[in-house]
Subunit: 180 residues, 2 copies
């Protein structure tokens, strides 16, 4: 499952990767992030995202089995449940994480490169995005080009009082999808 | 006013600029495009978009005053109401179009470069987008980087039975906005 907040122009963050732009929405209505987290059994995280989240302090996603995709060698100071993975067999990786957790979905916690790779391999079942009411103008794209065209099915849309809109899609098909 | 259909990944069209990808939605519910057109008094169109729309046949936007932004010389075979403009004074251009039409908004009928230029000059009041339920994977971006970060205010969101979502925003502020 891809789940992320983006600007209307499709950025996960400004060019420096900072998350300050989301702060004004912290005092707003509950966007359901905790409810989403309760459905998550395991995580796949890009190395850049992982290092950034670690920079904020403790790893916030508990003991859920978590794979950090990295070609830059080992992950230092590893929190419980986290391991490095070279991304050579993503399908096998997801299967292993799901077996380990025994429950819940696998959250692809960015960044865009991880999204693209998983989309290209047909490994994404759902995309959830909170569209924040602003344009960042530049930054780290949620969906960096290029990957196969993919049909989506809207499962849910929700509009919050602060102008945030949740869009939730099931992935219907992908040119690059391999049947399993 | 910017008004366009985009894929969830923010493309106006695939890399070849074709509009075939929108065809499956032609038989769906009324997305309100005719109702929007009734609010439009004049248009600003990028040269590439203009040439493409002309390639489909007759110019479909009536006699509304229309400026085609181009640095490639004159526009051939000009429909009534259409003129070329070098884009040197966009604020003056919009004022002139609005005075000529006497009514309605000025539609920025793409492409992305026109959107960006007008956003950077603080000349966009509203952004309407129909988010189509698909990923194109690559193509012509609705908002090509880079332009100033811009706050938006959600005016309206509407979900259609075929999974299309209309998001309509008022532009609240822009770092690059010049007060008039």
């Amino acid at each position: 499952v891809i789940y992320a907040a983006t600007s209307l122009d499709g950025y996960l963050a400004p060019p420096d990767g900072s998350v300050d732009w989301l702060e004004p929405f912290g005092d707003g209505p509950d966007l359901g992030i905790d409810a989403f987290l309760e459905t998550v059994g395991s995580l796949v995280v890009g190395r850049t995202t992982f290092d950034q989240v670690r920079g904020f302090g403790d790893w916030p996603y508990g003991k859920r089995p978590t794979a950090v995709l990295t070609r830059r060698g080992g992950v230092d100071d590893v929190p419980l449940g986290v391991r490095a993975d070279d991304g050579a067999d993503l399908r096998g990786l997801v299967a292993a994480l799901q077996e380990e957790s025994g429950t819940g979905s696998t959250w692809l916690l960015g960044g865009g490169t991880v999204h693209r790779t998983f989309l290209a391999e047909g490994l994404v079942d759902e995309i959830w995005t909170h569209v924040m009411p602003l344009l960042l103008g530049d930054g780290i794209p949620m969906f960096p080009a290029s990957y196969p065209a993919t049909d989506l099915h809207l499962i849910e849309s929700r509009t919050y009082t602060n102008g945030v809109v949740l869009l939730r899609y099931r992935v219907s098909s992908s040119v690059g999808h391999e049947d399993v």
